[in-house]
């Protein structure tokens, strides 16, 4: 069993901050103890881009290469059998994490991006016809927008987008209006990477299904913060990434409802995805193998399974409670800094704080913060339509994880104040 730094849940329930022993948890993340080039302790607030890895994950990856490395689904020898068993056990682990009915509904990909492209190219190319519509939102990360633009160009389908309100929420009235008889698929982000908004995916999915459309949820930003149950969400596809879940880069997950996956043709061809190959043609393996051509990221998948164990040990509820506290503290403290304007103020948010500092470009804020050891993202966050919606080129984004502290919120706020001093 994975041992983590979480203390037993002994504190009073009205003080969620006490439920996590953050200092102890931080000792599980070796990278967090480093000092930056300016001589400051690293304050890592770019968790929406990628999360840091606990030593349990690093050791699992390392252990596989040291003692268990072999290709999967091939060898007749012990090592390969062990690797295959571990790999398939990881698939079961992921299935439990997202609430899939069976491991057969879990396809391993390289990333969330690849998972969405898989659906766009496999399901989309074989189902979309000229005049059909794919509904996305103006809040999407480019990875849940551009694949649909491509498949719409290829099939003659039309791409439509649900607009965003001033607070950074989806305009649900507009959504109703855009949902029509030609809507074949709703592709929606569960949580906005640029704004932190949590979208009412369950309701959106129910309404889309009522019109006969399928639903894909980009869960890259949701899975690290919210308990995911694809059955409860009612989605047909759910995509997420290992590296945003405290696991390795290079592994993504696509959940697909088995009845839908069964009907989908392969996307990439190669080894492992076939039943029979003859020179004149081939037949396909059943899902999920049909969608996993070539050697998969084996070590990364095992690392991801270990990361999910780690998350469960800490407890998603306690993670959500502490991150909620960090968001509350950061929102209050940062919004109080002279000249700061928050972008994205939805009532339902994860711990992502996007903001502007009056008269100072986000890149300059980012560089000043970096000089004080605070790592944030400054830019359009691969969500240019969101920036366009708010008529801004970029924002500064601080995104928190459960290993962040209230002292780090303070370091962020002081860094922003310093940026204000440098440029005024």
């Amino acid at each position: 069993m994975t041992q983590v730094g979480a203390a037993p849940a002994a504190a009073a329930p009205d003080r969620p901050a006490d439920l996590l022993d953050v200092a102890r948890i931080r000792r599980d993340f070796p990278i967090l103890s480093q000092v930056t080039r300016g001589g400051h302790p690293l304050v890592y607030l770019d968790n929406a881009a990628t999360t840091q890895k606990p030593r349990q994950v690093i050791e699992a990856v390392s252990r596989f290469y040291a003692t268990g490395n072999a290709n999967v689904h091939r060898g007749l020898y012990e090592l390969s059998e062990r690797a295959t068993a571990a790999f398939e056990a990881a698939r079961e682990r992921v299935a439990r994490f997202v609430g899939a009915a069976s491991a057969g509904e879990i396809v391993f990909t390289r990333s969330t991006t690849e998972a969405i492209n898989l659906v766009a190219q496999s399901w989309g190319r074989s189902n979309l016809r000229p005049g059909d519509e794919v509904l996305v939102t103006a809040m999407e990360h480019h990875s849940n927008l551009v694949p649909w633009q491509l498949v719409c160009q290829q099939t003659g389908a039309r791409l439509r987008a649900v607009p965003i309100t001033d607070r950074g929420e989806l305009d649900l009235d507009a959504f109703e209006g855009l949902l029509g008889d030609r809507t074949r698929l709703l592709a929606v982000g569960h949580v906005s990477n640029a704004l932190g908004t949590v979208n009412p995916v369950r309701e959106l999915a129910a309404r889309a299904h009522a019109r006969g459309a399928l639903v894909l949820v980009d869960g890259a930003q949701a899975a690290p913060h919210l308990r995911i149950d694809v059955a409860e969400l009612g989605c047909d596809f759910f995509a997420c990434s290992g590296h945003k879940l405290y696991g390795p880069t290079g592994v993504g997950v696509l959940y697909g409802r088995s009845a839908v996956l069964e009907e989908m043709p392969p996307w990439q061809g190669g080894g492992d995805m076939i039943e029979q190959v003859r020179l004149e043609g081939s037949t396909w393996a059943a899902p999920p193998a049909r969608f996993e051509a070539g050697t998969p990221p084996i070590a990364e998948v095992l690392g991801l399974a270990t990361a999910l164990d780690y998350i469960d040990q800490v407890g998603l509820d306690r993670i959500a409670a502490w991150e909620g506290e960090l968001l509350r503290l950061a929102t209050e403290r940062v919004a109080g800094v002279r000249g700061v304007r928050l972008v994205g103020t939805a009532p339902q948010k994860v711990a992502v704080l996007s903001f502007l500092l009056d008269g100072v470009h986000p890149h300059d804020v980012g560089t000043v913060l970096d000089d004080t050891g605070v790592a944030v993202r400054a830019g359009h966050h691969c969500a240019q339509p969101v920036m366009e919606r708010f008529s801004i080129p970029a924002t500064v984004r601080a995104s928190f994880a459960f290993y962040n502290t209230s002292d780090e919120v303070e370091a962020l706020a002081r860094g922003i104040e310093r940026a204000g001093e440098v440029f005024r």
Binding site: H361, H380, Q384, P393, F423
Partner: protein, 146 residues
């Protein structure tokens, strides 16, 4: 001197606050845009020519302190220069911000030397060079007029 004040030298901060030649130019002879896909910043550079001499130059757009100050100092530097000489300054500037400047060239850059600290910030090199890449496009005779 901290690394931050080497990057944000007073000249840069001053040009960021009050950029020179910051305006849309009507009836320009050359016009070129620069975009940084990493941050969404974009600016436009206009040239007014008399033969091959740059008689007027201006810029407008969105950018950080580095790109704004760089554009401002760039316009101040190339105004009055020939297209050929402006191209030479571009090349020297580019070598400087990527840390490949020949020391012999350093003194020819004058005020532009305030950007010599940028090469230590790889993510900011593109900010400093954005206006210069737009200028280089504008220097080319293939660039359409406004």
């Amino acid at each position: 001197m901290s690394s931050l004040s080497e990057l944000y030298q007073n000249v840069i901060l001053e040009h960021n606050r009050s950029p020179r030649n910051y305006r849309v130019m009507e009836e320009a002879d050359r016009r070129a845009e620069g975009n940084n896909p990493n941050c969404g910043d974009s600016l436009t550079v206009w040239l007014k020519l008399d033969g091959d001499v740059i008689t007027d130059v201006s810029f407008h757009g969105k950018g950080c302190a580095i790109s704004r100050a760089s554009a401002s100092l760039m316009t101040a530097t190339v105004k009055g220069k020939s297209l050929h000489d402006a191209q030479k300054v571009f090349e020297r500037f580019h070598r400087m911000v990527t840390g490949r400047l020949d020391p012999a060239d350093a003194e020819t850059l004058g005020k532009l030397a305030v950007f010599s600290g940028v090469w230590a910030y790889p993510t900011r090199v593109k900010c400093a060079s954005l206006p210069w890449h737009a200028l280089r496009s504008a220097l080319s005779p293939d660039t359409p007029t406004t």
